[in-house]
Amino acid sequence: MELICICCPLGCRINIEKNAEGFDVRGNSCPRGKQYAIAEMTAPTRMVTSSVLVSGGKEKMLSLKTDKPIAKSLIFDALATLKGVVVAAPVNEGDVIKADVLGTGVNFIATRSIEKA
């Protein structure tokens, strides 16, 4: 599999294949690239950010993020849990909006405060 490394602006094209001992990594220019490629092959994770509607607030939308990275394969299922969610103002930055998303222990938290209208 070919990956573009994101560790630095070089953006090495890394070839990674599974072999008997683990992984055969080629094309990386540094150890960080190897680590990145192996993580991408074994357990890739991403921070997910999105937004939900607010009722009774000074603003219409509340922005959210996962408080920890979640498995890349769960991104769309995690986003689906936010469908139809409407949060009543006031909201404080850091408030948990959706706890324990898909049983992962990761929460969606507010990234801004919204006052009551």
Partner: protein
């Protein structure tokens, strides 16, 4: 007429950091003027993460990054006026602004820091042929619609340009259920960050087509399709490669232009390369007591560097007021060569009791295995080895005290790119 010491025009990341910088340098009479109903500027709509890695050593979202600065401005008791638009500004530092509460206000400032940011290049700025139908947005407008207004601009999207905002919006629209069919880039390389190409396009199998452009937009009333074609080395479309992609929305992420209308009005000298002011190492423009920093000066990739630069500008504005002005010594112009398009600051003053500063620059093409070098009167003062240097990433050379001193003494300063032989 109201009299103020330091007036900061713009309450985005640059204005907030400039205000804090001025306060920390000892100035207390500071006023921020912001046209939007809240502080924070464009960060408010940048709800994705990746901000603050340099400043706070953690990954924040745009609103969180802005809030750290907003909280500090409030804690320090720095005054600000919201929904206040500056309509004119002159070389004597008289500012005219309007808002609903005060009506028309005139302020005589001792120092002004221009922190007006930049705006997106619109469709008219790149001359795309085709229908003038609905469904054509700049990427930042789409970002505002989705993240602030809660409104989806379309379902099937093509993005022209691979700037960071376009890439971020490819992912954002995908998250909200849209289908992003392609991201089309005129150049053979992206002007966006690698991280964004991987995590916003590759993660969702969105094709990125280099050396391609949009040659026609079809659809009456609403966009129905766009025609894309490959371009040759001279960036001229090869019409035999043209193909149609059905979509209802075209997003443009084709560059940012510093917003210097006020600066021009006052007679601030602009650089034809950056479209921002020409500044010395104190971030002061050719007008005495008028400073400029952040994206209005030159477009940055990372907000962290906007904050750093603006804090310096704020500090220098405060020093200017407290010291009763700067002694003009002309300084030495920084010349660039060999693939370095520009360097900020453009002038380095001879006087040596100002703040330390870095040199920031952009290159004109993708270069591999090169050195960025700084010479003072022909002597190598600083260098940085780069395995790769691209137009999409701003390069910074930090300077130690003795390096700054060498530059201050120099009659000739050159910054450029050399092959590693």
């Amino acid at each position: 007429m109201d009299k103020r010491n330091v007036v900061i025009i713009g309450g985005g990341p640059a204005g907030l950091a400039a205000a804090i910088g001025a306060y920390e340098a000892g100035e207390r009479d500071i006023l921020i003027l912001e046209r939007e109903p809240k502080l924070g500027g464009i960060l408010n709509q940048c709800i994705h993460n990746g901000f603050g890695l340099h400043t706070f050593k953690e990954e924040l979202t745009g609103p969180e990054y802005a809030n750290r600065f907003i909280r500090k401005v409030k804690e320090l008791g720095i005054e600000y006026k919201l929904e206040t638009t500056v309509i004119s500004f002159d070389k004597n530092k008289v500012i005219t602004a309007v808002n609903e509460k005060d009506g028309l206000i005139k302020i005589q400032a001792k120092a002004v820091v221009l922190c007006c940011g930049c705006r997106e290049r619109p469709r008219g700025g790149i001359n795309i042929a085709g229908c003038r139908s609905a469904g054509i947005y700049s990427a930042g407008t789409a970002q505002k619609l989705v993240n602030i207004e809660g409104y989806m601009p379309g379902k099937e999207i093509v993005i022209l340009g691979s700037g960071d905002i376009g890439l971020i919006m490819a992912r954002r629209m995908t998250f909200e259920g849209a289908k992003v069919k392609a991201c089309v880039e005129l150049m053979p390389y992206s002007s966006g960050l690698n991280r964004n190409i991987v995590q916003c396009l590759k993660d969702f199998d969105i094709p990125l087509l280099f050396s391609h452009t949009v040659v026609d937009i079809k659809g009456e009333g609403r966009v129905k399709s766009v025609v894309i074609a490959e371009v040759d080395e001279k960036l001229v479309p090869k019409m035999e490669t043209a193909r149609e992609i059905t979509c209802d929305t075209l997003l443009l992420s084709v560059g940012l232009i510093p917003e210097n209308e006020l600066a021009k009005q006052a007679g601030v000298e602009l650089s034809p390369v950056t479209n921002g002011a020409t500044v010395d190492d104190r971030m002061m423009t050719n007008l005495d007591g008028v400073f400029e920093c952040g994206n209005v000066l030159h477009v940055h990739d990372l907000v962290d560097f906007v904050s750093e630069e603006s804090e310096l500008a704020g500090k220098c504005a405060a020093k200017y007021v407290i010291g009763g002005g700067f002694e003009a010594d002309g300084g030495t112009k920084v010349e660039t060569y060999g693939g370095v398009r520009y360097c900020v600051p453009q002038i380095i003053e001879h006087n040596d009791d100002y703040e330390p500063f870095p040199l920031k620059m952009r290159v004109s093409n993708v270069f591999r295995n090169v050195y960025l070098r700084v010479y003072a009167d022909g002597q190598l003062v600083a260098q940085k080895k780069k395995q790769i240097s691209t137009p999409g990433e701003m390069e910074t050379i930090s300077l130690k005290a003795e390096q700054v001193e060498a530059l201050r003494k120099a009659k000739e300063i050159k910054v450029g790119l050399e092959e590693n032989k």
